[in-house]
Each structure stands twice: as C-alpha cells, then as structure tokens.
C-alpha cells in the first residue's frame, strides 16, 4: 500500500510500457452524460455518501457514548444483547466507536487528498508554464519525494510532529502531492503547444490569466478523477499511521487506533478484534471502486493515468 506505479513518463513514440491509447484526446464536454449508466459507479458513490453521512451523523446514530465503558460488559462478542458488534477491552460499544471513528478516519482520508489536489495542481502548472529552470527544479524535487515508499515518507514526516490528526493530514499531504503534481504536469504538457494557448498568449494573456482560464479547465477534470482514486489509499495510510502510534491518539476513536487497541484481544475474541480491519477494507473497496469507475467514465483521457496511488 503505497504510491505504486509512478506516473510513468508519457509514452513517446518508443514508450512501450504505457497501456492504452497513446494519444488520448481531451475530455469532451458532455461525455459523462452520454455514457451509459454504470451500476457500480452509482453503488460505490452511494456507499461513499452513506459512509460520510454515518460519520457525520454519529452523535445521532451511535447507540452509546463511544468513550463510556462498563466494566461488566468487557469484551462481549458480536451479537451480544444491546451491543450489536460487541464491546472492547474497556467495555465500550464497538459499533458506536466505529461510527465515531469514521469522523477522524475520513478526515484523515479526505483532507490530505484535497490539500494534494490544490498544491499538486499549482506545482504541476508552475512546472509546466514556468520555464525550463523552474520545471527542472520542481520535477527533480518531486522525484526525490517520489523515491520514498509512501508509508516511510509518511512515517518520516509524522515523527517530526506531535501525534494527532494534524500530523496525519500533513504527512499524507506531503506523500500525495507529488503524485498529483505529476498528473497535472503530464496533462499540461499534452496541451502546452496547443494553438489555443498560443492564441491566448499572442492576445496578451499573462501567466496567471493563462493558467486560470486556459489550463485549469483542461487539467482539473483529470486531476479530480485521479484524486478520487487516491481517497481509498489515503484512508488506508491514515489508519496505518494511527496504528503505528503516529496519528490520532487514544482515547479518540479512529479505525487504525481501534485496530491497535483491539489487537491484544485477537486471540481470545477474534471477531471483535477484526471489525476495524473489516471496516477499513470495506471503505477502501468503496472508494477504490468509485475512483476506478470514474476513470473509466472519462474514457480514453484517463487511460494514461497512473494506477491509483501505486
């Protein structure tokens, strides 16, 4: 689980590794609406929305206070009366904690992607429009960050910070930004010599004007679709950091932290202990399916995108 396929350099005439068409056209406006209905896309989008709603609505939906334990009800197996998913080692209701944990965990999954989209797009456009020196400096710096396996880069950044949600968000933003910047840059390079850009330049458009009016509309759809496929990865990383003790700290409920808390019970109450693991797996499947279906939606122009975060 990491930033895997580096966004491969765009296949030149000799580039054999790039699967799919070599010269994908730009996204046609309206292409999304014309495509036939995609059941998996609808299902995964619905599931993702439901997950976010459940996390937001945790105070209303959760049957118990996630922090309140009871000594008599410690380590009940799933299905125990009054505790659908059982209780943890401190007698806290696992279902309630899983629901509340969704808040910190989804923030850890979504916010770094938003940061990476903003920062990565800016960096990618700066590298594409800023001239040779800027381009080389930015690309080489991103290469260094890319040379790190994602989890290790996140660990390196997070050890510098006090454990907490902030550390998770910052560390994952650093990990994801280079990937987004690469995608934005590759996308921009495809249109860099396009006639309409030349036309805009000739009619006196400055760098900023060019970036905002001509480049962002072309780059944004592809970047956003790529970003959607990063959310699942980001959720998995965020929970992993908490599991390692670098992210959200107890007693705040968070899926990765719960994994760590319940680990001692794995051999006595395995079905309680695996529940956070199952939830993270489910959330990862939902967001990855959503990301993948969105990529298919944009069709050819998505074919050159690197596999989600790998």
């Amino acid at each position: 689980m990491t930033l895997t396929t580096k966004p491969t350099k765009p296949a030149g005439p000799a580039g054999p590794v790039e699967p799919g068409p070599v010269e994908p056209g730009p996204v046609e406006p309206g292409a999304v609406r014309r495509a036939p209905r995609d059941v998996l896309l609808l299902l995964s989008a619905g599931a993702a929305a439901l997950l976010v709603l459940l996390a937001l609505g945790a105070p209303l939906v959760a049957p118990y206070d996630p922090a309140a334990g009871s000594l008599e009800d410690r380590l009940l197996d799933p299905g125990a009366p009054g505790h659908l998913l059982g209780t943890d080692g401190q007698g806290r209701d696992v279902l309630s904690r899983l629901l509340w944990a969704g808040r910190a965990s989804l923030v850890g999954g979504l916010v770094p992607v938003l940061v990476a989209v903003t920062a990565g797009t800016l960096l990618g456009i700066a590298a594409g429009l800023g001239g040779r020196v800027t381009e080389q400096v930015l690309l080489r710096t991103l290469d260094v960050l890319y040379a790190f396996p994602g989890v290790l880069l996140a660990i390196a950044v997070a050890t510098l910070l006090r454990p907490g949600l902030g550390a998770t968000v910052l560390a994952l933003s650093v990990v994801l930004t280079p990937a987004v910047a690469r995608v934005a840059f590759t996308e921009l390079r495809r249109i860099r010599t396009a006639e309409y850009l030349e036309a805009a330049r000739v009619s006196g458009a400055g760098g900023l004007d060019l970036a905002v009016r001509q480049v962002v509309p072309v780059v944004a759809p592809v970047v956003l679709v790529y970003a959607a496929s990063l959310v699942g990865l980001s959720v998995v990383y965020a929970a992993g950091l908490s599991f390692l003790g670098l992210g959200v700290a107890p007693p705040t409920a968070e899926w990765g932290a719960m994994l760590d808390e319940l680990r001692p019970s794995l051999f006595t109450h395995p079905w309680v202990a695996v529940q956070p693991a199952l939830v993270i797996l489910l959330v990862s499947v939902v967001f990855n399916t959503l990301g993948e279906r969105l990529r298919r939606r944009i069709g050819d122009s998505g074919a050159h995108l690197p596999e989600a975060g790998r």
Partner: protein
Amino acid sequence: MTGFLLRRLLLAVPTLLGVTVVVFATVALVPGDPLTALLGPGAPPEARHELSERLGLDEPLPLRYLGWLGGVAGGDLGVSISAQRPVAELLGSALGQTLLLAGAAFLLVLAGGVLLGALGALRPNGPLGRLCDALGTLAVSAPQYSVALLLIAVFAVNLRWLPAGGTHDVFGGGGAGDLLRHLVLPAVAAALVPLGLTAKVFRAALSTVLAGELADSLRARGLSRFAVLRHCVHNASPALLTIGGLQLAYLLEGVVFVETLFAWPGVGRLLYDALTARDLPLVQGGVLVVAVAFVGINLLVDAAHAAIDPRVRS
C-alpha cells in the same frame, strides 16, 4: 546500453542525496533537545557531551549533514537507544528476514498477478474475466494490516491450521518445513495489494497486444490460440517487468505492518518497535535502508527493462 545505464545511475545520485537529506531532517528538525531524542532522557552527562562533540551540534546544519553523511557512507548509522547496539548491526540481522518474507510474497505477486491479469485479458466480457477483474480490485484495496488480522483470526485462531506469528515453533520447531508454514500467512498478507496492481497492469498490457496488429497477423497465419497467446504474453512482458519490479520495492514498505502483526523479526518489525520506543536513530536507519533499497530496485528494474527492450534505451 552502457550509456543508458550510466545516465540512469547518474540520475539516481541526486535522488539518493535527497533521500539522505529527508532522513537527516527527521532527527535534525525533531522538536526539543536532539541529545535527549538520540540518547533517551536518562543518559549520563558524559555520554551527552561525547555525542554532542561527535555530532558537532554547535556547527551549522549543512556541516552536520555532511559529517553524518560521511558516517552513513562508512556504515555508521548511530547507536540504538532502546537496544544500546549499533543500528547497522540491528538492521543487518533483520534485513535477511525481511528479504525472505518479501521474496516469498513476490513469488505470489508474480504468479497471482499474471494469472488474474491473463484471464481478465482473455475473457474481458465473460464471467471469469469479470471475476478476475473484481478480485484484482479487491486485492488492490486490501490493506496489509486488515488482511493480516483477518488471516490470523481465521487460519490461526479459528481453524488452527497455521501459526499466527514468528519464524519457527518454539518447541520442536526449526527446519525448512516449519519456516514455510510460518511464512504462508505473512506472505499472503504482504502480497495482496501488489498482486492486484500487477494483475491490472498486466491485463491492460496484454489486452492492448491482443487487440493489436501483431495478434491479428499471428491469427491470420493460422497459429493456434495458445501460440498466439504465448507470443502476446512475450510482447506484454516488459510491462510486467516494470510493474513487478516496482511491486518488489513496495513490498519492502508493506512489511512494516505485516511483520509487526506476525511478529516477524525483520526491518519492518524493528521500525515499529523503534517508533513505539521513539528510538530515533533506529527509525532513521530503518527508513534510510528501506528507501535506499527502494531506489536500488527501481534502478535494477530500469536496467533490466533496457536489457530486454531496446526501445527504452534511446
């Protein structure tokens, strides 16, 4: 070919230097007193003084970095706070175990990735192909720690088929068969994500070749389905090499979770222990070793790619 390799090697130098800068920064920039961070809170004043001298803490950061880099180049990664032994020694003995686990997982990645990818490409619209695609997506989405916990719960705790951790049985253990039994679950847990990615990439590459002119001309010459497939697989293999090599590199980082959960005494486990104990020299050394291995494997993959496919050398 030599020119390509030299160029590629030269490009790796700034990357490696950048990696050392980031790793150095994790200790140099850590908030609070670096001596306490490196030696632990209870260190005697002489030790603090000696380390301060050795690290040249009064000197400006760039000089300290160069001094540290010189030490690293000579194999000196500092001394672990929690184990009170040289970091290089600890990492050296753990690295073999990690390579064993990563190697076993890599075999699963290749076998499973090729199988799922090929079936998906051959039957893109049939139920078997769809099943393979779905399995690939599921594998990509399966975090190592989730898979590890589920495997332990099912196969070790519930069914008692396989051991839940360690490298050999404490009583009456030892031998290759025992090791293999202990290797199965962690290798599967580590392999799933890279396996899914390999399947996806190989499927895409093979589909492209199967739909291309090469396959058409082979079919037109009357070759059997199997012979056509054999040629096409051959043609899609550079993609497999590239993605497979990347996955080998990524296995090295996934093992942080897998080794921790399966009590496998490798670099990942060491790193987890170091993080829990806030043993910064060990964290630094572990991150550095894995990151350098990562860059090295990528380099080897590029070289191998150039060796089998002359088109990338230009």
